[in-house]
Amino acid sequence: MTSENNHPKTDTVSFRQCLKGTWTDRILLIALLVGIALLWFQIEKTLSHGLPTAYVYHGKTLLASYPLPNDDKVIHVAAEGEIGVSDIEISKHGIHFVSSPCTTHYCMLSGHKKHTGSVIACVPNHIMVVIRGASDEAQPHFDAVTE
């Protein structure tokens, strides 16, 4: 008699089994991943034309737009938001929140963003900086467009 026969057969479910999921789960996951990849591709396609330019918004208002400098020039934008002034740095390293009046500081923790389509948002202060290819109305030959 083997040791297996000595013990009653238990059908305990291991976590590893649960983690594998069913075929329906896997098909659903693949469908979601394909959808996300398509969305990502569409966004990249929309943004990847023109000179990379940083746009600073407060709500619906465009506060400033600057082409990302290629040299060592560092531009500081003092963006007045709902709860105070956010200091945004624009340099060859990309966009970066230097200081912010919010408490979470997620915007500052985002670090430098350089690639087209990158977004840093300070939700409590309603300030957002986005890098996208310059559109016609942004007039990229100007150093800055402010309102």
């Binding site: 479910v13 649960c18 996951l29 990502w40 977004v119 939700v123």
Partner: protein
């Protein structure tokens, strides 16, 4: 019985309803604990959390029903944010919107497809949670559609966390079913 009616004493609740209330309350406490625990963890990135508290919402859905799951999602966010200190801040409203969207999707899917697995439910709820948060941010706070540029990578992370949370819920649920038998 007639004595109780005379004295205007309400009838005693059944043992089952008391047990359900006790289970719901323990789930709420666990969900709040997980909510607060997650807030203390180092963030994997801005705007992203593992959503461990959703495990309790999923379990409440399969064990206690749609209403209990929905109430748990609201109670968890409101009481949890009191402990974290974010009540009525933008973080609170974004969190509440995400939790409500996820709970609604969970309840609707569970009613429509009762045999859907917990992993599938969790996956779709995680995606709904993230989407709900972004819609709230875009509508109330940032008001720029460019904010959706952040969505695809975060949806990707949501799928991973949704799958893991679903697997954990499934494991706990199967163990609990065995214990009850």
């Amino acid at each position: 019985m007639s004595e109780n009616v005379k004295r205007n004493i309400p009838p005693r609740p059944s043992l089952k309803s008391l047990e359900d209330k006790a289970v719901w309350l323990s789930f709420v406490l666990l969900a709040i604990g997980l909510h607060v625990f997650e807030a203390t963890l180092p963030s994997l990135g801005p705007w992203f959390k593992l959503g461990l508290a959703n495990i309790m919402t999923l379990l409440a859905l399969v064990m206690l029903g749609a209403r209990a799951a929905f109430m748990l999602a609201i109670a968890r966010v409101v009481i949890g944010s009191i402990f974290i200190g974010t009540l009525f801040t933008p973080t609170f409203f974004i969190s509440l919107a995400g939790a409500l969207t996820a709970a609604t999707v969970l309840v609707v899917l569970y009613k429509m497809f009762p045999r859907m697995s917990l992993i599938s439910l969790s996956l779709l709820a995680a995606v709904a949670h993230m989407s709900g948060q972004f819609i709230t941010v875009e509508t109330w706070f940032i008001q720029q559609p460019e904010v959706y540029y952040l969505l695809p990578p975060l949806l990707l992370l949501s799928c991973i966390s949704g799958w893991i949370n679903g697997a954990i819920s499934s494991y706990i649920w199967q163990r609990l079913k065995k214990e009850r038998l």
